[in-house]
Every structure is written in C-alpha cells, then in structure tokens.
C-alpha cells in the first residue's frame, strides 16, 4: 500500500510515495538517485549498503522504509564533498585505501559510525567495527590504516 513517508537524508527532508515495507536501499538508489550506497547481497551479510541511521551503521537493504522514517539518515554522499571532505574520505584518498571501491561507501559509513562513538579507536577496535563489511579485493589493511589516520587527524 502506497504512503507518503518523510525521510531526513543527509540533512534534507525528503518525501517519498512508497510501500512502507520497501527496503530503504531501493528508495535511496531508485527514487532518490543516491547511487553511492551499493547493493551487495540483499540479506545484511556484506555491508555494501550500509547507511547511518541516528548514528548507527545499518544495512539499508534490510531496513524497511517505515523503520527509517523520522530518523537522521546519512549516506556516503552526505559524509562530505571533494571541497569539504569528511576526515575519513580524506584519509581513504591519502592511504589509497581501495581497489575496486564497490565496498568503500559502506565501509566509510561503518567507520564514521565507529568514530562517532569512539573517536580514538585501537586497531583491533577498527577491525571489529568493520568485521561485518566484506572486501574481496584485499584492501583491508589500507582501510584500517585510513580509519586510524582519520581518527588521529580529527583529534
């Protein structure tokens, strides 16, 4: 059943007409054209579609619209811009912390959520926070270095 649902995405109010059971991911990518968040498995097993909801990293493929309504949603597009990059984005570029980059946006979100709750994480804490994010190219260690660098530079 279609309903108008209000979403607050990257600081902006958006109203979409959709079935409240629709996964948030398909509204982000389809209706709103925010394609930085990626589909990986559709089953909350890989982290490619992670977005921040009220500060927590969650899989948007597995989150129905109704559960996101009225909350603060941040996607990779909302983290920063080339002109005003998020410390993590700056650090990922400095460390060249990617190969194919498909998993990058979800990992940036998981890392951003980590730094919100723990601005000065240890390396094992970074690895634990990213453990639900899969990377197939083997960029893990660069990614961990980038997160630690971002934490250091932000402090």
């Amino acid at each position: 059943m279609l309903q108008f649902i209000k979403l607050r995405i990257n600081g902006t109010e958006r109203s979409v007409e959709a079935d409240p059971a629709t996964p948030l991911l398909s509204v982000l990518r389809g209706t709103l054209g925010l394609t930085g968040t990626h589909f990986g498995c559709g089953a909350n097993q890989c982290g490619a579609c992670n977005v921040m909801i009220d500060g927590q990293a969650v899989a948007s493929c597995d989150t129905p619209l109704w559960a996101a309504a009225g909350k603060e949603i941040v996607t990779v597009e909302g983290l920063g811009t080339p002109e005003r990059p998020h410390p993590l984005q700056r650090a990922f570029l400095a460390e060249q912390a990617a190969q194919c980059g498909y998993c990058t946006s979800g990992i940036l979100i998981s890392a951003a959520a980590l730094l919100r709750r723990n601005p000065d994480p240890s390396e094992p804490e970074v690895r634990a926070a990213l453990d639900r994010n899969l990377c197939r190219c083997g960029a893990h260690n660069r990614i961990v270095r980038a997160v630690l660098r971002a934490a250091k530079e932000a402090s």
Partner: protein, 706 residues
Amino acid sequence: MKATAQLPVNLKANPRLSRWLRFDAGGFVEVSPGKIEIGQGIVTALAQIAADELDVGLERIRMKPVTTASSPNEGTTSGSLSVEQSGSAVRHAAAEARAIYLNAAAQRLGVRAETLAVEDGTIVGPGNLRTSYWELADEALLARDATPGVTAKAPGARKIAGRPVPRLDLPDKVFGRPRFVHDLQLPGLLHGRVLRPVGPGARLTALDEAAARAIPGVIAVVRDGSFAGVVAETEAAAEAGLAALRKGATWSLAATLPDEGELADWLKSQPAETTTVDERHPTAPAPVARTVRRQYTRPFIAHASMAPSCAVAQWTGADKVHIWSHCQGVYNLRADTALALGLQPENIVVEHVEGAGCYGHNGADDVAFDAVLLARAVEGRPVRVQWSREDELAWAPMGAAMAIAVEADLDAGGGIVGWRGDVWSNGHVSRPGRMPIPTVLAASQLAKPFERLIAFNPPMTAGGGAERNAVPLYDFPALRVTCHRLLTMPIRTSALRTLGAFANIFAIESFMDELAAERGEDPLAFRLRYLKDWRARAVLEAAARRAGWSQWRKRDGAGHGIAFGRYKNFGAYCAVVAEVDADPDIRVRRLVVAIDVGEVINPDGVANQMEGGAIQATSWTLKEAVRFDRSRITSDTWETYPILRFSEVPAVEVEILDRPAERSLGAGEAAHPPTVAAIANAVFDALGVRVRDLPITRERIIAAAG
C-alpha cells in the same frame, strides 16, 4: 633506450595513432586504451605512461572509457598483461605522437625539431619561440599508422612513471559519485530479472506466466527454452515479477554434479585429453635411491565479487543493440552476442562501464547477454539487469577444481634427481569471443540451445591454463609434467585469477618443503640449491631477510613457511614468507612479500596489488570451497561461502625489487601462488601436520593429522 625495431603487438594490431590519442585545443590529451579498469589501477598506470612520453602533467590526461565504437581492440584485460601490452602500445603511440607534433611545431616556428623541448604541453624553441600541443591540435596529424623506429624515453628520464601517484578513479568512489554500471541512469530505464534454473542440469518444463504479468509495473515476461525473465518499470516490480515466475516454474532436475567429498577421484576418473607439458632427460641419468609420491588438491573456487553482475542493454532497431557492461573484453562480448543472435558485429556496440573487482571471467558477460535477451521484448528502451547474490555465487563460472600428483626421484643423500607431475583439471578458460560457439550462460539455455563449450587451456606460450606453473622453475636434471584436461564439465569453469598456477605452486612448493624436511635441511637453503635464476634467488632472499627468516624463534602453536613462484614461469618473480598461529583454527599473522615486476610504473599500485593478492589468496587458502550436492550449487550466500574478514586479515609487508632496466611484468596474479604454499608450509612448521587438500580448515587439519 634503443629505438623499437618492431611495433608493440597491440599497436601493430591497431596501428592508427588517432585510435589511441587525441590532442584537444582545450589543453588536454585524450588517451584511449583498449584495457579496462577492474579495480587494479591500470587506467592510472597507462595515464602515467602517456603523460611521461608526451611531457604533460598527469592532470592533462583524460582516459576514455573503452567501447567497440572507437577503442583499439586489445582483447581481454586479463593475464596480468595490461602494463606489458597496453603500456608498451600507449608508450610507443605517445612517443610517436610527440615526434609528429614536434615536427609540426618545427615547421610553424621555422626551426629544426631537434631544437625543441616540451614543458607540460608547451613546445619551447630557441630564442623563446613557443607553441603548444593545444595550439597545434589537429586530428589530421594523427590520422596515420604508427611506424617502428620511434625512440621512447629511457626509464631514467621518466618523471611520472615509476612514482606512486593517486588512482584517478578513487575520488568518485570515496565520494559516492556514480561510477559503476550498477549506477547508470538512462532515460526510460527499465529493470529486468532472470529466473535462473534450480541447478546446472535443470530444464524448465512448464512456466505459468500469468501471476507475473498481473503484477503492476511488469511490462514483459520473456521465455526462450529454459531461459526466463521479467521486465518492469521499477526494480521492486521486477523482483516481485521474478518471485511470481519462480512460483510458476516447473523444473526437471538432473543429478549431474560430482560427489564433492570425492573430488580428486572424480577428476582422475573422467575422460580427459592428456598432453605433455614439458620433458627433460639427462645425458647421464643419476642413480635413484628412492621415489617419493604425494597428491595435492584444491576445490572449485568462486569469484565471489562484491557486486552481483549487472548490465544494461537497449535495442536501437530490430537488429541493433547497445550494451553497457563491466566485461573484460568489449570486442569479445560483441562477438558472442553476434554469434548467439545471428547479428552483424558492427550493429552491436559494447561500452565498458566499471563493475566491482574482477578476478577473471565472472558473470559480467552472462548478465549482459541476459539484458540483451530481455531488452529485445521492449525495443527502444534500456533494460538494466542485476543478478542476485545467489546467482552470482552459483552461476558465474568457477575456478576449476584440481588434483596434482607429484613424484620426486631422490639420490642417496635426499637430493632431487628427477621430477614428475600430473595435473587433472577442467580447462581454465571458456571466455566469450574466442570460439565458434557463444559461451555466454543463457546461450546454452535457449529453446534452440548452443552446445556448452567444454573449457580449454590457453597455449603454453600464453602461460597455459591448468598446467600454468606446473613445471617447477628449479633445475632438476630429469623432468616430465603431464596435464589431463577433463572432457566433461558438470560445473562450468573459466578463468579465475592465476588459473592453474595457484594449485600447481601449492603442490610444488609444499612438496619441496616436504623433501627439505625429510633431508633435515632449511627450506630456503634447499630451494636455493636448485635455483640458478638470479632474480628468483633475489626475491627469495629478500623475503627471507625482511621476514627475519633465520632469526625465527620456534614457539608452541606458531610456525613460519616460505615459498616462491615466477608467474607463468616468464612473468613476475614473487616470494612469500608466512607466519601463522594455530589456536586451534589457523590464523595467518603476517605475510612478507618480495616482488620483482621488472620496471615499476606505479609503485603504490604494485604494492596494492601485492597486498590484495596476498589477502585474497589467504582467503582461498583458509576458507573457500564451492559447495554442492548432486544437482545444485549450495554455497550461494556469504554464510555458505565465507571469505576472509577484517579481523582475520594478516599484516602484509611488501618489498619491491625495482629493476628499471627490465621489461615491466604484470603484478596482479604474482602473489597468490606463493602465498598459499607459504601458509601451508607454515602450518606444517606450527603443527607438524601436512595439509595437502585445500582449504586448510580445522577439519582438514584433523583429517591430515589422523
């Protein structure tokens, strides 16, 4: 550097200079290679080469996406050949273009070309005479064929190649800008989904389409034999349509798959084509005191790309189609599409758009052909087809399972005087565009199906397939290596990073370790005794030094191991030292990789490839095996096909042995083979248990110990 007497192969095949380069009056150069970005950073490396030869800043280089509409045909982006092949072609084309523009400048300025220099595209002559590529920009200048005899810069004179430069594609990926084919937004875009069969041998015997057609937003249901799918206005409607089709489908299931518990026996009992890979006979055979025999295996391995395969297709006429694909070879996909549908190749345009990391022949071509089949039902509108995670893990081609038997004849002192190897495997290549029958998945599922190609092995001059690296690089006086390529293929196999090299080096380097242990000799010293090639010795010694091999202190439950491989026996040299803990699952703590790729174009790019390769190989070694019952692939989720996670990833240290005077060799596949063997050898060092069947799981260790 001496003038090239011959054109680089890919330039010879595509000699028109304007296909490779275009100077723009706006102050930039368009470079148009035929190799594609698959997450390995090749586009950046090629831009570095062009910038260097042309004497322009890297920011003036614009890399064009690859398309059959205009790009040179450089075949597939595979085999770690891109820097070697495309790099040399781009370098030569750029050097010749520079010379042509200098001549044009000389004419305009009334001086001799030798008196001119180029500074960031500005051409400077005596007495402050000036012009530029941008002032002279004229397409007619490069509308000619490349000629041999051009002198490229000496490696020492290069300012950009050889330095770490940031990847050109990363900013888009870090800021979440559309970059992948998955993100493509075209006017009127529709969404398609394909109903894959319940198993590789299953046939669709009946399909009730009514429920799917009744779903709002579903525009078309397509069925052709065992191929079926839906097209809809939205992705959600396409998913709903697919679910309805699935309910309405009746399949005949066939138990065509082997017993996954008896893979080695199965491999060795199939009809096969047997070839001798290499033979060496001593003039005076040494006496053999005894012979040692071992067998090593690896399972089928999945590409397991992070992104399910995706493509967009749009029919622009009854016999004309445009395809957007993350395939490895645009001309190959075009050829297969033309074959499968009886179209003229020139009526098909295949445009490359990036996908997620690509480690060989994955589902990219298959999903593109799916999109072509579905889009035909809605001529004029683009249709985007995306596979599910389950499709990706179960239906993309697999890396072939292998069994390798090795025998060594030993003299009285335990030295090796003879070596024999036998490799049993499916072929490692069934790529599209190379055969008289199409190999895209759906082509064998149509009502008038094409025969399914049995995967073959590339020739040894290209490195071979199943037999890749089956011949040890060690100097044994007598040797015979044989390959048995299966003539049945119940599980579809094709190129996965390193082809047979991963398992063959696992076998050779494990066996070398076993023989060293029997002799009671240090595994490094044992290897060096049989290795004459100085570059091979150098990587082994460099890895050992960096890892502190000789200072290792043995402690309970920990071990270290070393291994070596020269990819394809004529590519990059790589040695790896692995350090593991067994607690009781195997945890790889540290990998030290020493690599010689000849002249290095982007050192950070090489380091990134080494780190990635070593980590991916660790995942294959410790965790990965395609699972199946007798009728279907069962490892079709991340839970049933687990890969290495952040908390399990080892520290990786990379030492690059730069050899500016040596030809550049590909880096993308060099680290995998020695990594698996180094880990297996470290497990033996830690536990005294030799695991010869991959993956090295707790169950396998228990089985090997028993």
